[in-house]
Symmetry: C2
Subunit: 229 residues, 2 copies
């Protein structure tokens, strides 16, 4: 579902160029659990942003779900992302003026145009799955850090996307809650064949995935195939 | 340095009351490394916010550095915090219009009125200690998640506070970088007797601290004395 060939990303800051990705190549099949690991600043978020069509590569080829994403313009990327991808942001990126319930419901209204009664069923079952049912009427500034993270996860899964990009989804969670989230993702992968690509430092996730790519200084320096826990 | 007696915190949201802390008592001596652990939503950030004078308790007594903090008004709390406490926020709370360098320098200018040449020495040595020297001229939206977290840590240590409250300071860091930060804190504790109180899920921190308090549903359900690693 994801094919990357010699992908480069340079951030241009005035006079200075920051080479965040310096030639990354890999192939992730559909339904796989894969993870990128590596030091802080090694390029994990940058790579997930490219796959998730939130940013454009500066060189190389990147194909997601048979679509060459570098051929898409801004509006086409937003539509492609809405149709196929769920993104769990490292800094959550929640909508502050919507409640917990409305944040999860939003993609179903805006992107998929799902009827109201089926939306309610979906939102409530996801909030239950991430342990957030009793927080549903609160706003993002009225919940804890780990609750924000779980809300961001529920929101990414609400449209049953083919591909979920999860940037540090358990960083703010205790072990028991983290395992609950990982188990939820495993269930989706088994039942509807969702592909999950993680950026993480969490050994609980790393030990669960099929493939681990090590990223250092914008290059892949190691690939470990484990075929899942 | 911190004495809590039967501390309560209720968040009032219109008709609904959320009891985040339901009677917490403990005593943390000066120079100690202590940590609060517990499930997401158990009240760790709420407790650190009370100790850090960012919020007021609703019942009980709380004394920090011999000051009864519930007796302070808003401006007195801000001054007390600026004089004695370094706070590492769970969501970093950086100033977006200041560079990395200026974010670390800011407390030295605003609070301590340190002369410019001594400020430069201090800021550069802290940026070096957290591995962020080459990011100094960037803005917070131009650095990675873990780099933001390390910047938030450097900023909290810049005034050599007596007490540092660190809310999940390693959540976004790989192991090697996390150990570098923990080592920096250990060094400050040894050299200038800084007291560190963590809220964390990171076993690397938990195994290093002198005392571990387990918080569940707003109550302390366990106290483990380890006397440091
Ligand atoms: N401003 C607020 N208004 C209402 N409820 C709040 C507010 N802030 C926090 N809460 C609630 O109080 C409880 C404790 O929150 P707190 O942020 O202290 O938890 P935490 O232990 O730090 O969790 P995490 O590990 O997820 O960061 C949570 O259930 C949260 O939803
Ligand atoms: N908008 C930007 N402008 C300039 N440099 C950037 C920008 N965004 C990221 N960078 C730099 O690119 C490098 C890679 O950043 P990235 O966020 O991908 O790292 P990461 O592996 O996700 O790190 P972390 O584990 O800390 O989240 C970092 O050195 C960062 O400072
Ligand atoms: Mg990142
Ligand atoms: Mg918290």
């Amino acid at each position: 579902i994801i094919i990357a060939q010699d992908v480069h990303k340079v951030y241009r800051m005035g006079e200075v160029n920051v080479p965040a990705l310096r030639g990354v190549s890999f192939k992730i099949e559909s339904g796989v659990f894969a993870s990128f690991v590596g030091p802080s600043g090694s390029g994990k978020t940058t790579l997930l942003n490219l796959i998730g069509c939130l940013d454009q590569l500066t060189d190389g080829q990147l194909t997601v779900a048979d679509q060459d994403v570098s051929a898409l313009n801004y509006t086409e990327r937003a539509r492609f992302r809405g149709d196929h991808i769920g993104f769990i942001f490292q800094d959550f990126n929640l909508i502050p003026v919507l409640t917990v319930y409305e944040n999860v419901e939003y993609p179903l209204v805006m992107v998929k145009n799902v009827p109201k009664n089926r939306r309610k069923e979906k939102v409530l079952s996801l909030l239950e799955a991430v342990g957030m049912s009793d927080q549903r009427d609160k706003f993002p500034n009225q919940i804890s850090g780990g609750q924000k993270q779980r809300l961001a996860t529920a929101r990414a899964l609400t449209t049953d996307p083919k591909l979920v990009l999860a940037d540090e989804p358990t960083a703010n969670l205790d072990s028991a809650t983290a395992y609950k989230i990982i188990e939820l993702m495993r269930k989706l992968s088994r039942e509807i064949g969702t592909t999950f690509v993680f950026s993480t430092h969490d050994t609980k996730i790393i030990s669960e995935v099929d493939t681990v790519y090590t990223l250092e200084d914008g290059m892949i320096t190691g690939t470990l195939i484990q075929k899942g826990a």
